[in-house]
Amino acid sequence: MRPFGYLTPGDPAGAIAAVTGRPGATFLAGGTNLVDLMKLGVAAPDLLVDVAGLLPDRIEPTAAGGLRIGAGVRNSDLAADPRVRAGYPALARAVLTGASGQLRNMATVGGNLLQRTRCLYFQDVTKPCNKRDPGSGCPARTGDHRNLAILGGSPHCVATHPSDMAVALAVLDAVVHVEGAAGPRMMPLGGLYRLPGDRPDRETTLERGDLITAVEIPPLAYAGNSAYRKVRDRTSYAFAVVSVAAALDVADGVVRDARLALGAVAPVPWRARAAERVLAGRPATAEWFGRAADAELAMASPLPDNTFKLTLVRNVVVQMLGELAGTERAGS
């Protein structure tokens, strides 16, 4: 590992200035992904600016009736929060299915959003990778791509975003608060991420020195009727092969509104808007849930060893939406 400096600025402005002014500098929060990537040689910063002690670490109600989650909140605290558990079960479930008890105690909400793909080629510095070493090539398309993207990829990269939490946040229309050299701004979660195109090394719209300070969840009347399901190769402590977050508002057997997002199938947390458009106003039946999944998957470009994800996504979507449609909820 390359030697590096370590700073603990007293406030976000100091941290932002420290990273903005130094190309080799990077923010450090929980470190669960960054320190690992440094050991692997994938990341080699010459300065770590530790923001764990200065990021907001509370979950607070917003005036609008949603929640504002400080970027420094640890994953375990997010999943344990009574308001999250009762009001946003998809989010609590998503966080709980990620990593292990130890890692959830360390990992932060901001860091979770910015964690890097677990594509084997990205993590192996002896292999080409357009994301890690732009222009070096991508062995995945003809190599090991079973776990890689079927949606949103490009000839240059089919890596998947690994976060569970971000899939639930996508369904909840989360807004990301960012501070940077030019001041604070906010963006929808979908605006944080970029599809790979011909620049898979550029994963987000953040500029050097931009610091995620909070994630806000707007109010959603039917967020209590939400769920997250993760399909993986072993029951626990594994990344998703496919995951689905969904929230459903059903009345008299008809879908009034639906939110759907897919994980481990795309380079970004994939909000399934084509599926949502199919669902709105339609009967809450397995047939229509399947048609909705088909509408989304019509855009897919699977590779030989991950074509199975098409069937898997469809099956999980139909099953989950069916369960959510059948949920009796007081007041809904």
Partner: protein, 189 residues
Amino acid sequence: MMAGVTTPDDTSSELTLVVNGTAHRLRLDHRTTLLDALREHLGLTGTKKGCDHGQCGACTVLIGGPAGGVASPRRVNSCLLLAVMAREAEITTIEGLAAPDGELHPLQAAFVEHDALQCGYCTPGQICSATAMLGEAAAGWPSAASASVTGPVVLDAAEIRERMSGNLCRCGAYVNILAAITDVARAAP
């Protein structure tokens, strides 16, 4: 800013690690993980290095949480925590779990009673992890195995297995590890 760090170009810091109640003043290269600091600089070799990538849990130690926080102290992977990140924290390792008079921690005694190990390499991490896990359950934290994320926590076998999934045992002593933890969980108030 902490003492010992003066410029972004310094690649080491002078820092204090409080381990099992004793403060240690050290100058450490920033690359030093808490795991390596414990083992190589403080001679506390009870904490084990397995994968060194946060995947096996052999390096699990306990870190004192914020005052008043629930489920404190917290279990962490010391291989992914830079020692400089753990400065001033209250760290407990397997060497600090037994009482001063040598009486074993209930989980240590249960692991002996149930023969919950073969080679023993994962055992310190298993026991540290289980210690904190019982605190998390007592605080009402749900897990991925919980039927409801809002319901009460019942530490049955599926719950304990899920909550302990960050600790691997290559010998496969899981059945007896489960029995040992179950015993202590049932004895808890």
